[in-house]
Symmetry: D2
Subunit: 335 residues, 4 copies
C-alpha cells in the first residue's frame, strides 16, 4: 500500500470456524461436556456451538465427515458496504466462488478459497445470541451464563492453517482481505517464510499460515479457544488429563504472541488449543515482529518444547509412518 | 501445661462435620451441583458427601432437620491409644456422653459436648475412600477425579462456631482435646475474648470459637471448604452469582489466617465459606497472634468489609428483626 | 449517523494521560517503586513514564501542580489523514484550541477541550520505545523487560472523568471523536444519564464520563492501569497494603465491564485503578448495555460494594466536609 | 514399628538448609534480587537468608565453597526432650558426629550423617524472627513484609538429595528420625527403589532420596522454595527468563505430590525449585503411594517432560561428558 493510502478495515473479526470430524458424537462430547460449549442448533450432519462469551449465536460448526480438518473459515465484515467491497476485491483475484445464502445464524456470504485452497467466507448480517431463561447470565453484558461445568471457554480466538506457500497466502490475507501482519518466522536470512500470524482486529492473531512440511494443501493446524485467566488453562489441563484426552504440548508460554496455552486433540483428531493472555495490538503502525532460527529457538518462552508431532501432524491426516503422535490418551486410540 | 511437659498430639485432624438443613434437596443441590461434591451414601434423613481430595470416604453429613445448624463435629485421633486417652480426659471433665457405634464411614466414637453444648465426637477407625472406576483419578495419589463440574472444592477445611463464653470453650479445646491456639481477637485490653482460632494439625485453624452476640448456645457460624488456588475462589464467586446464591462477604483476604475467601449461604441457611491460601503452622512453639480493636480493624486485610449480618446471623436462626441479612438471592428468599 | 453511513474509525486508541500532583516525589515513588513503571524522561515540572508493555515511549506524564487532577488526555489517530479529519471536525464544534508542537515522545497535536472542559489532544506521530540494553526483554515482541520489582502494570488502560452533563460529553465523544458507546447507567427510566463508557478500539472502554455530584467541571475520577492476570491484582493489593497505600475499594468484580480491579489513591491524591480481565469488543454492531437502578445495584458483581467516597471524591478535591475519604493509609495523611 | 506402638513425632519440621556455592556473589544475587529473599546475617564465608513467611530467623545458609552442593540439612525437633531422644537414637546407629554449639539463629544441635554421607543436624532452640521497622508487615501474623521485589518465595519447602542406596537411607529417615513415608518410585516389580519422599510434618515431603545414577555420595538434587499460588510460579518463570537464568524443566505439574513447579539452576550450579500447591497429609494412617515404570511415565502429570539432565545433573558436579546440561542462560556459562 502506498504511503499516502489509509489501511483497509473492512474485515471486523474472525466470525466462525467449521471443523470436520469422523467421530461427531465424541467430538461433540469434547466441546460440550469437557470444554463447556453449548449446542444452539443442528442441521443435517452439522451441530452449531457457541462459547459463553460469544455475541454471535454460533462460532463453531461441527460437521460429520470422512476425515478431520477445517470445513471453512468465516470472517465478519465491518459493514454491509465493506462486505461488498471485499467480495469485489476477492473476485478480482480469481479466487472467488460466489454468493451463498447464509448458514445457521448468519446472512448471505461470499465464498472463496485462499491460494492454498482453504474454504473461506465473508458475511455481515448475523443473529445476535439471545439466551433462553435458564442460560441467561446475571450480568447484563454477558450473552450467556458463565458455565459451571467443564472448562468454560469464553470465545473462539483464532485458527491456524498449513499451506504450501506461506508468502502467497499471507499476501492474499493482507492485501485482499486487509488483515494486518503481526509476527513472522523467517528462516535462512529471510528467504524461508515458515509462518505468518495476522489479524483483522486488536486480537493478536486470528489467522496463522504455517508451512506444511508434507507439502499438502488445505490442512488445519489448530483451532484455538480463549479462556479468561492463566489459572483456567491449568484447570483445563487437569480436566483433560482426568478424562484421558491427549495433551500434545503445554501448558507453556509461546514466545510468539506471549500467550499461555496447551494443545490437545479433540476425539475427531483436530488439534485444539486452550489459550489466554498474550497481547492485543492497537497501534496503527505496529511493526511486525520477525523471528529467525536463533530467536525463535524451540518456539516456547518457557515450558514444554513443541514435540515433532507439532510439525508433522495436521488434519486431514496424511497416512505415513513418521507423523503419528504417540498420545497416552485412550480416546484417541482408534484414530 | 507445665514447662517440662510435652504437648498432647492425640487429635490428628478435623474429621467430618454434620450440617442440619430444613431444605435437604436444595442443600444437596448446592453441595453437589454447585460445589462439585459427591454423594457416597444415604441413610435415614442423612446424605454423606465427600470432596475430591478427601482421603476419608465422607467428611460432610447433611441431615434433614427442622432448622439449620451444626449436627456434630468429629475429630480423628492419631491412634487407637490416643482415642482411649482423649475419651478418658473428656470423661473426667463431665462433658462426656459416651461411646457409640460408628456412623457411615467410620468406627466407634466417643461422643461429648463442648462447654457451649455443641455435639462433638472423636474416633480413630475410618473407611478410606476407594473410588469406583468412573471416578478414579489418573493420579495415583488423588482419591477421586478432579471434578470438571461445579466449583471443585478439595476438602473440608474448618468449622467456626459461636458460644457464650469463648475462654471456657477455648480452654476445653486446648487443655482437654489438645488443640493448639493460633490466633485470638481480644478486646478491652484483653478482658474480652471475642474469638479464638485453634487447630490439632498444621492447618491454620480447624475450629474457631466466636462470641454469640445473641447469647445463644450451640450455634454454627460457618463451615469452610478448601479450594487449591485463589483463582478458584474467583471462579466460584462467578458460579454462585450465576445461580442466584447469596454471597454475604468477599472474595476478600482475612487478616486473621491470611486466607482468601468468600462466604455464601447454602439454601438451608448455613453459612459456607470457600477458602484457600493462608498459612500452615509447623513450629512447635508458634506464638498465638492476638488482635485488638485497632489491629483487627474491619477484620479483612483487603476487600469487602464484613457486614453486620456476619456478626448477627448464625444457625439455627434466632428470630428477631435485626439479624436478617438482606441477600439479593432468589434461592434464599423463603428463609 | 445515517443508516447507510459507515462508522468513523479515525481515533486508533487512547494514547497517554497527564496527571497533576502536588506531591511529585511521592507520586513518582508510587508509580515506579510500587507499580513498577519506568521513567523515560523529565522536562520542566514533568516526568514521563511508561509501563513495560507500552509500544509508545511514554503513556503517563506526571506534572507537579498545586492540586491533583488530570492535565490532559491524548488520543492517537489511525493515520495522518485521520488526524487532519478529526482536527477539522473538532474545530467545527468550536471546542478547538489549536495545533501545538508535540510533547516528549510524540509529534504535533491538535488541542481541544471536551464540553466539560477537560483538556484533550489528538496526534499521530509518536516515538516507538527502544529499550536500552539493560531493559531489553528476552521476548522480541515485548518492548521492555517484564519488571521483577513492583506490581508490574502492563499498560495504560483507560481514564474516567466526571462532568456536569454526561449526555453532552458522550455525544461529543461519539459524534465528533468517533468513539463507540459500550455501556451506560441510566436512572429514572432513562431520564438521568449517570455515566457512559466509550472506546475507540477493542478495549472495553478507554474513556468514561460520570456525573459530578458536586457539579464541578473538569475533574478526574480515576486513571486505570492494566495487569495481565487476576492473580496480579491480588498480589498488587498485598503490595499496596504493605506500603500503607490506601485501597478505597476492591479487589472486586465490576458488573459494568466485568473487570477485576481495585482502586487506590496515589500519594498526590488521584484515584488509580489496577485492572484486568473484562471483555474486548470486536462486533461492529455491538449493542450498548444499559443498566438502571435495579440492574446496576451496588455497581459490583461480587466483592466490596463501592463506598460513598467513590461518588464524592475526585481530583481536584473540592473542600467540604462530606467528601473526605477516611483512608487508613499513612501516606495519604496530609491530604 | 510394632502394631501396638504409637508413631514417633519427635521431628517437627525441616528447619534450614545450607547450600555451597563457588560463586557466592552471583548466588546471593539470585536468592535476593531475583527470588526476593532477605539477608539477615553474615559470618565467615556464609550468608544467612530468610523468606518472608519463615518464622525462624533464617532457613537458608549460603556458604562459599570450591564446588556446589548441600552443606547440611537441619531438622527442628518438637521439644527439648524430643531433641535428646532423637540424638540418642541416632547415636545408637553409629552415624552420630556429636553435639555442637548452635549456628547463627539457633541453639545447640546434634550433628550426624545419613547413611549416604549427607551432613544433617537436629536442634530445638531457635531465634524467632523479629522484623526491623522497615520490614515489618501490616499483618500481625506475617513475620516480614510481603516483598514487592523479586519472585517473593514464602518459605523453604523441601530438599531432595541423591544417594547410592535409597532403601537404606529411607529406612534411616523413617526408623531413626521418624519421618513418614509419602510416595515412592519402585521399578522392576518393586525390586528397584528409585526414589522415596518423606516428611516429618503435614508438608507433602520435606526430604526426598533419589538414586544417584553416577553412583556418587552426598550429592544434592534440588532445594525447593514455596510460593503461595500457581500464578506466582508463572510470574517467577517470566522473571527468570528475563534475567537469563536457566529453567531446566517446567512450569509443569508433578504427578508425585501434584505440585506445580519449575526447576532452575542458581548461578552456583545448584538446582532450585519454585513450588506450590500439591497436597498436605493429615491422616495418621496415610498409605504411601507407589509408582512403577508405567504409572510414573515421564514423571509429570502435564507440562514439560523432565529432560535427561534431571537425572544426570546434581551438585557437586562430577565431570564427565554426558551430564552437562545445555542451558541457554548466560549466567550459567562459565560453570
Amino acid at each position: 500500500m502506498g504511503e499516502h493510502e489509509e489501511p483497509i478495515q473492512d474485515i471486523a473479526h474472525l466470525g466462525h470456524v467449521e471443523l470436520l470430524t469422523p467421530r461427531p458424537d465424541e467430538s461433540l462430547w469434547y466441546f460440550t461436556d469437557i470444554l463447556g460449549m453449548e449446542v444452539v442448533g443442528e442441521e443435517g450432519q452439522s451441530a452449531y456451538l457457541r462459547a459463553y462469551g460469544d455475541y454471535a449465536t454460533t462460532t463453531l460448526k461441527l460437521t460429520e465427515s470422512d476425515g478431520a480438518g477445517v470445513g471453512h473459515i468465516a470472517w465478519r465484515t465491518a459493514s454491509p458496504q465493506a462486505l461488498e467491497r471485499r467480495a469485489r476485491a476477492i473476485e478480482a483475484t480469481g479466487l472467488g466462488i460466489g454468493w451463498m445464502n447464509g448458514d445457521f445464524g448468519h446472512g448471505k456470504c461470499y465464498r472463496f478459497r485462499d491460494p492454498d485452497g482453504h474454504a473461506m467466507e465473508i458475511y455481515y448480517d448475523e443473529e445476535r445470541y439471545r439466551a433462553p431463561e435458564h442460560l441467561r447470565s446475571t450480568l447484563l453484558n454477558l450473552p450467556m451464563k458463565y458455565p459451571k461445568n467443564g472448562v468454560g471457554v469464553r470465545k473462539t480466538d483464532h485458527v491456524a492453517v498449513l499451506c504450501k506457500d506461506v508468502a502467497k497466502n499471507r499476501e492474499f490475507a493482507t492485501n485482499t482481505l486487509g488483515l494486518k501482519l503481526r509476527e513472522q518466522v523467517m528462516y535462512e536470512n529471510g528467504a524461508a517464510e515458515i509462518g505468518s500470524w495476522m489479524s483483522s482486529s486488536a486480537v493478536h492473531h486470528e489467522l496463522a499460515y504455517v508451512v506444511d512440511v508434507k507439502n499438502a494443501s488445505g490442512r488445519l493446524h489448530h483451532y484455538s479457544l480463549w479462556v479468561d485467566d492463566q489459572a483456567e488453562v491449568l484447570r483445563a489441563a487437569n480436566i483433560l488429563r482426568e478424562h484421558d484426552i491427549f495433551i500434545e504440548a503445554g501448558p507453556s508460554k509461546h514466545n510468539n504472541s506471549q500467550a499461555f496455552y496447551f494443545y490437545s486433540y479433540e476425539p475427531g483428531g483436530n488439534r485444539v488449543e486452550i489459550y489466554t493472555s498474550g497481547f492485543f495490538v492497537l497501534a496503527p503502525d505496529f511493526e511486525p515482529v520477525v523471528w529467525n532460527e536463533e530467536t525463535r529457538g524451540t518456539g516456547v518462552y518457557w515450558g514444554a518444547a513443541l514435540p515433532d508431532s507439532f510439525l508433522n501432524y495436521a488434519t486431514p491426516v496424511i497416512k505415513d509412518a513418521d507423523e503419528a503422535p504417540k498420545p497416552d490418551a485412550k480416546v484417541i486410540d482408534a484414530l
